[in-house]
């Protein structure tokens, strides 16, 4: 072993010094090149998903962000709405803007599996909640949210989630604080019941939060924030902020 090292050292000393420098430089260059590429590629993904229960306002939001108005209205979506565009409100801004790839996934429970197709490429998820009709759907929304929070992709890549309380322009809409608390409570309940399922049928890959304590969104490994918006009137500033944070212009 030591002989080998000695041999190598002698050989190295024998090479002209410039060659070594060059070799070293090339090596350094290649490494930094790949490193840069890797970092750049990670943030290259400009896909944002719009998910949520059926009727929460995802399609309206999609068209609001794209065109600035929901046109004639929407019906229950049967297929995802997919578009790459510059946010409507930023069209007036000068300069080169990075277009955003927005996908609106239908919320109907039969079409849920479609979400899994789009998750691997997404940089962030906007979970839209109907703040008007919240309490009757609270359980279903919490279940959907729980399923999402425990998906392997979301946990491993720490994909940030924005819980958007839509329809906030209506008078009887609940506040985002209330919604956040309710969701946390429901998810907590789900946590206990789901983790109790027998090993044969674990549907969720990961468990949430800290056992023993009540669940809170800040305990998630990925960033979970709550915001308000109104798809119909165009109050989508917080959404755009979230999007811009993830998809650098």
């Amino acid at each position: 072993m030591e002989q080998l090292i000695h041999r190598v050292e002698e050989w190295v000393h024998q090479q002209p010094i410039e060659q070594i420098y060059v070799a070293f430089a090339v090596l350094l260059f290649t490494i930094s090149f790949f490193g840069l590429l890797h970092v750049l590629r990670r943030s290259k993904s400009n896909t944002i998903l719009l998910a949520g229960l059926s009727g929460s306002g995802k399609t309206v939001l999609f068209y609001q962000l794209r065109d600035g108005s929901p046109h004639l209205g929407t019906v229950t979506s049967m297929e995802p709405n997919d578009g790459t565009f510059v946010l409507h409100s930023e069209l007036e801004k000068k300069g080169k803007l990075n277009p955003v790839h927005l996908i609106d996934v239908p919320g109907h429970s039969r079409l849920r599996p479609k979400l899994d197709e789009f998750l691997p490429h997404s940089a962030g998820v906007i979970f839209v909640v109907d703040s008007l009709d919240f309490l009757p759907n609270c359980q279903a929304a919490a279940e959907y949210l729980y399923d999402m929070l425990t998906k392997a992709i979301i946990v491993k890549r720490k994909i940030p989630i924005l819980i958007l309380c839509n329809k906030a322009d209506k008078v009887t809409a609940h506040s985002k604080e209330f919604i956040r608390k309710q969701l946390e409570k429901e998810v907590d309940k789900l946590r206990t019941s789901r983790s109790a399922i027998s090993t044969a049928d674990i549907a969720n890959d990961f468990t949430l939060g800290i056992p023993g304590e009540g669940f809170a969104f800040c305990q998630c490994r990925n960033k979970v924030t709550v915001a308000e918006s109104s798809g119909l009137t165009g109050e989508v500033s917080q959404v755009e902020q979230f999007i811009r944070e993830l998809v650098k212009p």
Partner: protein
């Protein structure tokens, strides 16, 4: 007359709208309950606005190539004849001006108004001509349905209401599970007695049996052409429809119901005119007798229907393409999928499904629905028809089998516990499917999650049933509520629930006696039990070995529960427990049939005879097995 006509993309954006938004949002209901449930090949959808609003009928058409849906809504009391025609025309016109980038189509208003006028005029003409050639026809005997007639009869998709009661019955079979839908094949009511020709199984058309009155043959056929393909009689038309014929006036005799067919709200089963003039094909059909039967299926199974001209040809839609040209087209990807292209692939798929023990009519309906969603679509490059069809079918199957509501029982149990009442589950099913065995398995599973279970022995009929449950209770060490034999099960259940409340049990599992779906008094007793106790979960136990009978069982069970219920919102079957799953190797079709018919998710699967043999349904693996 039309309340609303909507054109929207499959992604949900409304592109053009006529009329105002309606109360109860019938369009959303249509999408959720019909189009997403793979029933897009049905003729029409009936919607009752909740809270006593108006009753609407909805008809739709697809443009699969552009991904658009055209829906027309009108009040059920108006039997509009021109709707299908109008939808097809609108589709034609709109697809020409459609541009994916555009979102407002104001110029379509004018075009549409014109189309509407034309369509109305055409309908008027047809009605007049129909009234002219009225001929009394003896109702033909019901025929042993030939496969083709059956198939086509059942699926009477669009094409405007098919035979009133005929297809009504079909839809009843298929939809009665949904309780509130008044399955009426169509809403068109035509008083002419002749229409009932369509009732008479196509046999009349096909010149079978009473060789339909030769005199009236031509007229009859002319009328047939006005009929929507629904003209196919439904073999199941058990609802013996003996409609008064020969009466050119409105009075129609009350239909006598020969067996347990669901009572139709519409008594007039006269066949509506086929606005699209598809009848042309039938005119030809009559002349050629039986041979047309197969072609008929090709034509009629065409839900949305292509151009009328095509129908006038004897071979609608069957173009002979050379091998080379079809190969070329599949590579270049410009081939537009047509019915004839899809037929062979769909037939192969249907046979494959049937070998996997899927009920025949379910396989048929599914294939039609997939066809409806693929027609007119452009083939991608380098794809063959069969692979497109396979993918579409796979998606459809996945969609059907994915539960549309949460099947997390534990959470519901906890919710009930929070409310301070026990969670009641009632097991129903026909004889010998494994209710008591699987009830014990479910109890065992619940016990493992630290839930207090109590059994209620409401099978007071079969000898040894109570002892059987007692043994299970002893082995599982849980309390059991029993009152012996010959007692009223409804009362026993009621007392069991009260007892459970007293001794703080979280769940009450109620065992009932097995009963055949045709047995009226027993079904009545079951309905009484459910109405009296209002359980949280009505679990239908069905065995995986069952074949075509699954459809019948579930439909009749649901129907009985709906009919005999005392409250407006009848409790129907909420979930399915599939048993004896270990006995079938890969013939898993029963799961599909049951889920399709009832819309209820499969909550448990029993796969053995010991306590631990209970598992959840793995949707992906079932779909894979079905399509292997």
């Amino acid at each position: 007359m039309l309340e609303q006509l909507l054109i929207f993309t499959r992604g949900g954006l409304i592109l053009w709208e006529l009329g105002n938004a309606l109360k109860g949002s019938p369009i959303d209901a249509l999408i959720r309950s019909c189009l997403l449930e793979e029933r897009s090949a049905d003729a029409a959808f009936h919607f009752d606005a909740p809270g006593g609003g108006a009753a609407y009928t909805l008809k739709w058409a697809f443009d699969n190539d552009l991904g658009l849906v055209f829906v027309a809504v009108y009040q059920r009391i108006f039997h509009l004849l021109y709707v299908d025609d109008l939808l097809a025309a609108a589709r034609r016109e709109f697809s020409q001006i459609y541009d994916p980038k555009r979102t407002s189509y104001g110029d379509f208003d004018e075009i549409f108004r014109q189309l509407q006028k034309e369509a109305e005029a055409r309908a008027e003409e047809m009605r007049k001509s129909k009234q002219a050639g009225r001929v009394p026809v003896a109702p033909s005997k019901k025929q042993a349905p030939s496969g083709a007639a059956r198939g086509s009869g059942k699926q009477r998709s669009s094409g405007g209401g098919g035979n009133g009661g005929g297809s009504g019955k079909d839809e009843c079979d298929g939809d009665s599970g949904k309780g509130r839908w008044l399955a009426n094949g169509s809403s068109n009511g035509q008083e002419n007695g002749i229409n009932e020709n369509s009732r008479a199984p196509n046999t009349v058309v096909k010149g079978k049996e009473n060789g339909a009155p030769e005199i009236g043959a031509f007229d009859v056929n002319k009328l047939q052409k006005l009929r929507s393909k629904g003209g196919k009689k439904t073999h199941t038309g058990g609802g013996g429809t003996k409609v008064a014929k020969a009466e050119p006036t409105k009075t129609v005799k009350k239909n006598r119901v020969w067996d347990d067919s669901p009572s139709e709200s519409r008594l007039d089963y006269t066949d509506p005119a086929n606005e699209r003039g598809e009848g042309h094909a039938e005119v030809v059909a009559a002349d050629q007798g039986e041979s047309m039967m197969d072609k008929e299926e090709v034509v009629s199974s065409d839900s949305e229907l292509e151009e009328d001209e095509e129908l006038e040809n004897e071979k609608p839609g069957i173009k002979k393409k050379g091998w080379f040209s079809s190969m070329l087209q599949s590579i270049s990807g410009n081939a537009v999928l047509e019915k004839s292209d899809l037929q062979p692939a769909l037939k192969a798929l249907k046979d494959r499904l049937m070998t996997k023990n899927v009920a025949e009519e379910i396989a048929e309906k599914l294939c039609e629905s997939v066809a409806a969603s693929l027609e007119g679509k452009k083939l991608g490059s380098f794809t063959r028809v069969s692979s497109t069809v396979q993918t579409a079918m796979e998606e459809a199957l996945l969609r059907i089998l994915t539960p549309k509501r949460s099947i997390d029982i534990l959470r519901d149990v906890h919710a009930a516990k929070d409310q301070g009442r026990p969670y009641v589950v009632v097991f129903v099913g026909v004889n010998g499917v494994g209710k008591s065995t699987n009830l014990a398995k479910v109890a065992y599973w619940l016990l493992q999650h630290n839930i207090n279970v109590m059994l209620a022995a409401c099978d007071t009929f079969r000898s040894g049933a109570v002892e059987q449950l007692r043994t299970h209770a002893r082995r599982l060490q849980i309390p059991i509520f029993e009152k012996g034999y010959e007692k009223d099960p409804a009362i026993v259940a009621k007392e069991a629930i009260q007892e459970a409340k007293r001794n703080n049990s979280d769940v009450v599992l109620v065992d009932t006696a097995g009963r055949m779906q045709d047995n009226e008094p027993l079904m009545r007793a079951l309905s009484k039990l459910i109405n009296l106790n209002n359980p949280d979960l009505v679990l239908f136990v069905g065995e995986a070995l069952v074949g075509n009978d699954a459809v019948d069982q579930l439909t009749k069970f649901n129907q009985r529960l709906a009919d005999l219920s005392t409250v407006p919102n009848a409790r129907l079957i909420d979930g399915i427990l599939l048993t004896k799953f270990d006995t079938i190797d890969d013939k898993v079709g029963a799961a599909l049939s049951m889920v399709y018919v009832s819309g209820a998710p499969v909550m448990f699967v029993g796969c053995g005879q010991s306590y631990t043999d209970l598992k959840k349904l793995n949707v992906k693996s079932i779909v894979k097995t079905l399509l292997k």
